[in-house]
Amino acid sequence: MKEGFRQSMAWLHTWSGLLVCWVLLLVFCGGTASYYRNEITLWMQPELHAVAANPVSSEVAASAAQAAMTQRAAGATRWFISLPDERTQATQLGWSKPSKPGEKKKGRRGNFHSEKTDPATGEVLSRPRDTRGGEFLYRLHFDLHYMSAIWARWIVGFCAMFMLVSIISGVITHKRIFKDLFTFRPKKGQRSWLDAHNVTAVLALPFHLMITYTGLVTLMFLYMPSGATAAYKGDKDTFFAEAFPRAEERKAAGVAAPLTPFAPLVRQAEQQWGGKVERISVNAPGDANAVITLSRSSGSDMSTRQPSMDFDGVTGKLLSSNGETVPGAAATQGVMIGLHVAHFGGPLLRALFFLSGLAGCAMVATGALLWAVKTRQKQAKALAAGKRASFGLRLVEALNIGAIAGIPIAFGAYFWANRLLPVVMEERPKEEIACFFGAWALAAIVAQLRPTRAMWRIELTAGAILLAGLPILNVFTTSSHLGVTLFLGRGPVSVAAFDLVVLALGLLLAYAAYKLKPLPAKAKKAAPAAAAPTTGNTTLPGAA
């Protein structure tokens, strides 16, 4: 090795980071938003806000759901009921009917019906506007969009692997990791950017390492199938059945028998678990061999592997309870995925994860900016002599604007589209998503044409207006704006919180734009068209 170990690590850190930073920023923004994907979905369906303000107990909801299902889903082979919890407010009923003989199969979910109902009465809710809501942002962060999910997962996995390399080489490169732990020196150009990058990286380092590693673990059977493939000779189903065991299924007897009431079973299960029942599924309802399975809500345990209980559908006798002890490796994987998605933990812990996610966005953004600032410094002499910035620098600066300032614009456009597109519309979710990508593409292309300081200012301002404008837009398009949810205290709390968070993020962007006010004439000469803002603030365009 010609250079020292630390230098080569610095090289590795720079390039492994730069190569994937823009995709990573998207993944981080989408992932951070996903911590609140249910809340985002609720926000995007104002028709459900009234129901959300009056929650009921799971026993009441289970009884109402059973009554509704008995009435509407007779003859179904399976029932699925998702009870409301703090984060989803409507009861979701679903059932699948056997396909009629001679009928063409309509794909896997062809005979599946689902509807959202009022948890207290079981009545179908007035159909809320069609949207993918937070689910889109969640999918976006590992499936991307407009491409096959498998390809996308490979791309995201590749970026995550580079991220892991970056984190480790970054820690090695960072000589003064403890000495500089609390150091942030604003208004010092490159120095400030480095400080901001270090602070957001080091302080949330446990989170960054965890999220990158567990992110890879969630998809490990895609990335590294060979272990399981070799041991099970390609028989994937057997592998999953042995690694993650489930109860056996009972065949329908063909003899009709009434279903036992859900409410006592729910009470029994909740007493044993000390947690809420989230899902009820019934195999062969109305049959003598019916089985009712209750699953616990995630939230009382760190793992995503939730215990479930099987009851005889007619007598209500407990048949088996599963998943309270899981084999070691499966338990480890469950905890890792649990840590990644943070379904456990109450609102406080989730808020901390969200904050750490924002720190991650800021880390990626400052890292990308730092490269541009440093490279511009290196080319300062040539630039002062009137030469143009190198192709690479121009490209990176333009991509930085397109990603760092562009992603908030895309998020903002998505939420604005949700409110402004006609409520009844063909393929509404698709149009909303088109707005997301349309706005982003516009921002990115314009940035490529003129990657200047003025462009930063314009795009940051646009993002600020879009995000901070959402609470105002709400006043005109919904009846659950901040005036009602916050000042009259009628809730739902999560809708009010959404408005406040986007407002705060919008103001942050506005502050960043304000800091980029045109340079005074003298300074302008010294740094013509400095494409990267040189004032530091830790909480950079983090984006929703």
Binding site: K179, L181, F182, T183, F184, R185, P186, V199, T200, L203, A204, P206, F207, M302, V335, L339, F344, G345, L348, L349, L352, F353, L355, S356, A359, T538, T539
Partner: protein
Amino acid sequence: MEILSNFLVFALCYAGLSCLCLAMDRHYADLHGRGAEPPPQLRRRLQWGGWLALAFALAWAMHIAGAGYGTVFWVGSLTGCGLLLIWLLPYAPHQAMRLARVIGVAAALAAVMLAVL
């Protein structure tokens, strides 16, 4: 009660980090003028106090939320408090330290209240 419990973790983390921060030459100088260094005795006290506060925060977090959750909660609150402290330091160093003192006292009060109740 729960709010008080959670607050105690945050308060201990913030106070502890502030102590550790103040024990460093650079940040001591931020407050007391260029070139100022903490006297060795004070530095030792700050370091001990800081680490003790963080250790208590971890112990308390584990006590209220179990070992697994508690650790995650503690790490998260370290991140949050650290970001707040570092953000305040360059712009309002004296306020940051005043806040640390107030929060330290509040933590002691909260601990006493939790012990009594």
